[in-house]
Symmetry: C2
């Protein structure tokens, strides 16, 4: 997994003290460390058990209380008919009751001393009917009059691995350097899953939906100050407090890298965002300009958020953009050159002395010795490939390395699938030995075996701390965005 | 698989008679129907058996002769020491001997009456050493003085499923409407494999490498006239006969859709192309302008070639660009809107009467009834999803349908993986019933089970004749390019 040490230096909360931040970090942070949770609206039918199952499976170590107005049991645990009947203190409530019933539940939570409630239920400000907007206004009034802070409605709440607090099945309990605020519940889970798959661990992820109470500005201020979070990802459909959010974004981006993924940038997308989280989306041009001013890194979709976060964990400081690509296959090599050049990376041609070194152990024909370097001849000989990575990687003319394996290229498979595990291990080792930022790119074309092998290589990379990308274009684009980010600071 | 009938109408060879084409179609075509093949340079060691294995596995029904100067046997078949010793006629030779030996082999082939030779061997004009260029010049002189036409050097030759003639293992023996000329051997195999995976079958694919004799202009003229080929894909690194190729491209694009993928568009890519196939690449601007003038459809990479070919088989005639997207998940729906709008597709909002129809069997909350339509509530109920596709699809306000399944979205998986097979079947059936162009988009995020299910859905689509795309962005971009193509004709 990726190291925190180098990144940790970059979070400098002292800088933030001079900026006008409205939220009290410690107060907000204490909300995300609940010792007891009620799942309100839990029921014995499968659909009604989901959050309790997730919390149990995630290994939450505090107290868990299902609440159902008919009582009974959920997953073998006694259900209380009201939060007010729960014995002892209650910190956090996850609520999935029908929208109309939620106001009363918030009042009950207040009476019980609950400090934070996530309202999963939809059908508020995002719905077409006026009743939804009216209900949301009443909800906000109720919450504001009470001591309960609200996430949502229409959201998933909190993924906080250090607390074994999860919002989806199968998520890792390992903490890491990346944090996210995410307006879409589906996207928050998608983002977390896709990132874990690529070796990223999370500090915490907050899904906040319609942002009726806690909104994008509060959460951006929170993450800006959060020492556990070294990189912030924000998925935003619209801003409740535009000016304040922009200030928070600017402040956060001064303290640590911030990746912003704005959903609903098109007119139709904006309309969809209104239906989804009741968000007023704003024009693409305004967002682009604000993100640029704030020095946030913009991403187009979830995949690109993960790509850039990986690149930030790879390129940890200002760096040149001179890359060497080592791979195989003639057409693939030409494509690699176009992919890198198209994104802004520079591929300097190898000098004669490096070529001479390489020619000592490869044949001339079938190898392209410029850069990208086509190693077709020795691709199935891991020790020689390792040697090639060291020879090219140690050349002072380059700043970073991209190692490329297009599985199933060639009349049979030019790359012997049986060699791939050993080759992956060698490449990861050689790249680490070189010590420059390095990424591995691999993809299979068609067969199930190729896919499985690439999947395994991806796992080896994430365990070995080397970023894995499914295409050179995505790797080059993300790495170049990170280099640009450092250049403009 | 995809139907030829509608496309067949578009190939109008009469048009081509008025254009100045230099190749004699029938003469060239006869070269691609060999009845006997020699594999020259075949040997008993694993590497030396590959093409013989491919031809045997592909079920080539003519006569096969390994040739090795030491004689012996290859894969249990007697090897001749020279092509001249082979009894009976010999049509085609696949040559993988060292570059220096190839000139003599071509002379032998001429003496034997061979009409076409594919020179797999590299180390000619693409190599850095002068010896390579000199050798290529001598090779061309030798071939031109003889009766042997040449593919290559540095290429894979012919994939012609109707003749069970293959250039890689595991390729389908089913013929289809798409043909390709491909300057890279690796890319030709990659292209064929990736397309078969998506349900595309091929008329023939010619990998022609350095283009020392038969070149891009010859092959474009050939495919322009080929009645079996309804869609042409061309991967080109550089043109040997630029003006003639442009004329051929223009003529071909008048007769049928031509997708051009130009490798080496960047400066570094161009240098890589020079090392790969000895090609002079030309500037991106010149290529863009020529492709536009010729009304060819440009693709950025192999995946996009396949995406566009599928869209051509889907949208078979001029069509509007008003699409309806039916899927699930709020964030995914917003992204779908941005993806479609970004490429030029139009998503008209559903009118009240269609919404009323949909509301009869779905709940309001959690569904976005604009367009994209978010069917989260009924995603696991195939009959209702089928009904929704019919209701939306039959609306006269749209020209085409995109059905979207983001597997593993949601806190558990919103889409029950056990339902996916039945859901896929229902969606394919409903889309066909509607009768408008329709594509299915599906992707999994992380787990092996999700991947396998999506893989199966892709197979169901390819068998059911519905194009499958791994992302809405790719589907929308390809479909929009095809609509643009029809608009500019």
């Amino acid at each position: 997994m990726f190291e925190l040490t180098a990144l940790a230096k970059k979070t400098d909360n002292k800088k933030l003290q001079f900026l006008l931040l409205e939220v009290d970090y410690s107060e907000l942070d204490s909300l995300f460390h609940p010792r007891s949770i009620a799942v309100i609206g839990a029921s014995a039918e499968l659909r009604g058990t989901f959050m309790l199952r997730i919390l149990l499976e995630g290994g939450f170590e505090g107290r868990l209380y299902p609440v159902n107005r008919h009582g009974g049991e959920v997953l073998g645990i006694k259900a209380y008919t009201s939060v007010k009947d729960i014995p002892g203190a209650l910190d956090y409530a996850f609520i999935h009751v029908p929208a109309q019933a939620s106001i009363e539940i918030i009042r009950d939570c207040d009476a019980k001393g609950v400090r934070l409630a996530t309202l999963f239920t939809a059908g508020f400000g995002e719905s077409e009917a006026d009743i939804g907007s009216n209900l949301e206004q009443e909800l906000v009034r109720t919450a504001r009059q009470s001591g309960v802070r609200l996430l949502g409605p229409n959201c998933m709440g909190i993924y906080h691995p250090a607390e074994h607090l999860s919002f989806a099945t199968g998520l890792s309990a390992k903490s890491g350097p990346v944090g996210a605020l995410c307006q879409s519940g589906g996207n928050s889970v998608h983002l977390v899953r896709a990132a874990i798959q690529r070796g990223i661990s999370w500090s915490k992820v907050i899904s906040y939906g319609n942002a009726a109470d806690l909104n994008e500005a509060d959460l951006m201020e929170y993450f800006a100050q959060d020492p556990e979070t070294k990189v912030i990802i924000a998925y935003i459909e619209g801003a409740r407090e535009g000016k304040r959010f922009f200030r928070a974004l600017k402040a956060a981006a001064q303290a640590k890298p911030v990746i912003v993924f704005k959903g609903g940038q098109s007119e139709v997308g904006g309309a969809a965002a209104m239906c989804h989280t009741g968000s007023l989306s704003g024009s693409k041009e305004v967002w682009d300009s604000l993100a640029k001013q704030a020095r946030a890194i913009q991403a187009y979709d979830i995949d690109e958020c993960v790509d850039i976060a990986l690149a930030l964990l790879l390129v940890k400081s200002p760096s040149g953009r001179r890359a060497a690509v080592i791979g195989f296959g003639g057409g693939a090599t030409v494509q690699a050159a176009d992919d890198c050049s198209g994104t802004g990376l520079v591929l300097p041609p190898l000098p004669e002395e490096i070529k001479r070194e390489l020619k000592k152990f490869t044949r001339l024909a079938g190898n392209i010795f410029r850069n990208p370097v086509d190693m077709s001849d020795i691709i199935n000989i891991p020790p020689e490939m390792g040697h090639a990575v060291r020879v090219v990687g140690n050349w002072t003319g380059i700043d970073l390395l991209i190692l490329h394996l297009g599985v199933e290229i060639g009349p049979y498979s030019l790359l012997d699938l049986n060699v791939l595990d050993a080759l992956g291990e060698t490449l990861i080792g050689a790249a680490k030995e070189v010590g420059k930022p390095a990424a591995i790119v691999a993809h299979s074309i068609c067969c199930a075996e190729g896919y499985q092998k690439v999947f395994k290589l991806q796992q080896m990379c994430s365990e070995g701390g080397l970023p894995f990308y499914p295409s050179i274009r995505r790797a080059a684009s993300a790495i170049n965005k990170v280099i640009e980010y450092y250049e403009t600071r």
